[in-house]
């Protein structure tokens, strides 16, 4: 390789300024070739980038190479301070909410029983949702053919709905008129 002539320090300093501003303003990583177009004559993008990277080391905003180009990124140690965690609580879908309510009132209850009470089939994904959120849990098996799992609510369920105990739930009869109710097992005491 040829050794490049030493650039004038003032020109090199200006090149550093241009590089910093250009990389800051660019909406994607700046490749050396692109930077070269903006640099003063006699300065070379790779040398400028190396010098800029050294100068920015330890600053709150560092120059990093990504996808073949250069971008400024905030230093990793500052991420916790500047990142705002926003809680975006999800709404339970209607099916999940109804299933949860039925488990709460009829526990321990099997999946076929839930389906019978809702008058609709229960998808595994709905049950998985409730399991993922730790709102329901398995409570052994029912001793009938097929030994289906018995489902019940968790302490997390009580917490979510602000209940001291399951006894705090309003009685079923207060929610559904007796006329409408199908013959079912009694509610929890």
């Amino acid at each position: 390789m040829d050794t490049l002539p030493e650039p004038d320090p003032a020109v090199f300093e200006h090149a550093l300024r241009v590089a910093e501003a250009l990389i800051f303003a660019s909406d994607r990583p700046v490749k050396p070739e692109r930077l070269q177009m903006a640099l003063p004559m006699g300065t070379h993008a790779p040398a400028v980038l190396t010098a800029l990277q050294a100068r920015c080391a330890g600053r709150p905003v560092e120059l990093v190479e990504i996808a073949g180009g250069f971008v400024f990124r905030t230093a990793l140690d500052l991420a916790p301070a500047i990142t705002r965690v926003v809680e975006v609580p999800r709404r339970l879908p209607r099916v999940a909410m109804e299933t949860l309510a039925i488990i709460a009132y009829h526990q321990p209850v099997t999946r076929p029983e839930i389906e019978e009470i809702r008058g609709a089939t229960l998808s595994q994904s709905t049950l998985d949702q409730l399991l993922d959120m730790s709102l329901v849990t398995g409570r052994g098996k029912k001793e009938v053919p097929g030994r289906p799992t018995l489902w019940g609510t968790t302490p997390r369920f009580l917490e979510q709905f602000g209940l001291k105990s399951l006894g705090d739930l309003p009685r079923r009869e207060e929610l559904v008129s007796v006329e409408a109710a199908l013959p079912l097992s009694p509610p929890p005491a």
Binding site: A25, R91, M133, Q160, L175
Partner: protein
């Protein structure tokens, strides 16, 4: 010459724009311009434009007509009160021109400001400073209870309609029962004693009582049995007619 004027007219954004330009040419504060001179200049420009092109937009001509009228009013000696104060109208025109002038300066001032993306640049690729935590759920007790009630209502509604079977005791059944039982019951017996057991609702019981009474009256008419009621609303008593044989009458 007139060609140039016509082209000139096209460079303006409406009559007010041209008027402002002419007013500025007077090189005084816009609020002190001579309206009379302004009118003459405007009409002159318009006439020049008309020499080459007849189709001059209506708003230019309306403005010319109005200005000419305004000029004549301003030049009239103040004799009787004119119906509209020409001075006031001239003032209003001046104020409109001044406002347009101000806005044009404002536009010019804005154009001279440091503009984002022209003179100065912002962060091209901002970092995301928001982290979404989606672990929580929105669900409260009222929602849970609503869900339960809704599920139950819907499941109930989904059941096929089946009318409740109503146990009715027909007159024919009552007569058969009377015949079967009366023989074994000596003496007076309360009518209710002959009703079938297992009548759940009050409605079923009253219907059965009515059927029983009609059956008893029917048998009494044929002479098969006797009825007795000692007092109004008292118990109805029945017994096999003396010597009679139930079921053979009628």
């Amino acid at each position: 010459m007139s060609e140039a004027l016509a082209l000139n007219l096209e460079g303006f954004e409406g009559p007010l724009d041209l008027l402002l330009d002419l007013a500025r040419a007077q090189k005084v504060d816009i609020r002190r311009i001579s309206i009379v001179a302004l009118v003459d200049q405007y009409v002159a420009v318009l006439e020049g434009a008309r020499a080459v092109r007849l189709e001059i937009a209506a708003d230019w001509l309306v403005m010319a007509a109005w200005l000419t009228w305004l000029k004549s009013r301003l030049l009239l000696p103040d004799e009787a009160e004119p119906e509209e104060d020409a001075e006031l109208l001239a003032e209003r025109l001046t104020e409109r021109l001044a406002e347009l002038d101000r806005m044009r300066h404002a536009a010019f001032w804005l154009g001279g400001q440091v503009q984002l993306g022209r003179d100065s640049f912002g962060r091209g690729e901002p970092e995301i400073l928001r982290l979404e935590d989606r672990s929580g759920i929105v669900a409260d007790l009222p929602a849970l209870l609503r869900a339960y009630a809704a599920a139950r209502r819907r499941a109930t509604a989904a059941q096929p309609y089946a009318p409740k079977p109503r146990r009715l005791f027909s007159v024919a059944e009552a007569m058969a029962r009377l015949r079967a039982l009366l023989g074994s019951a000596p003496g007076w017996t309360v009518l209710q004693g002959f009703l079938p057991p297992g009548l759940a609702t009050p409605l079923e019981r009253r219907a059965a009582l009515a059927s029983g009474l009609i059956a008893a009256l029917e048998e009494a008419r044929g002479g098969g049995l006797e009825l007795r009621q000692d007092e109004a609303f008292g118990p109805l008593m029945i017994r096999l007619a003396q010597g009679g044989a139930i079921g053979h009458a009628a």
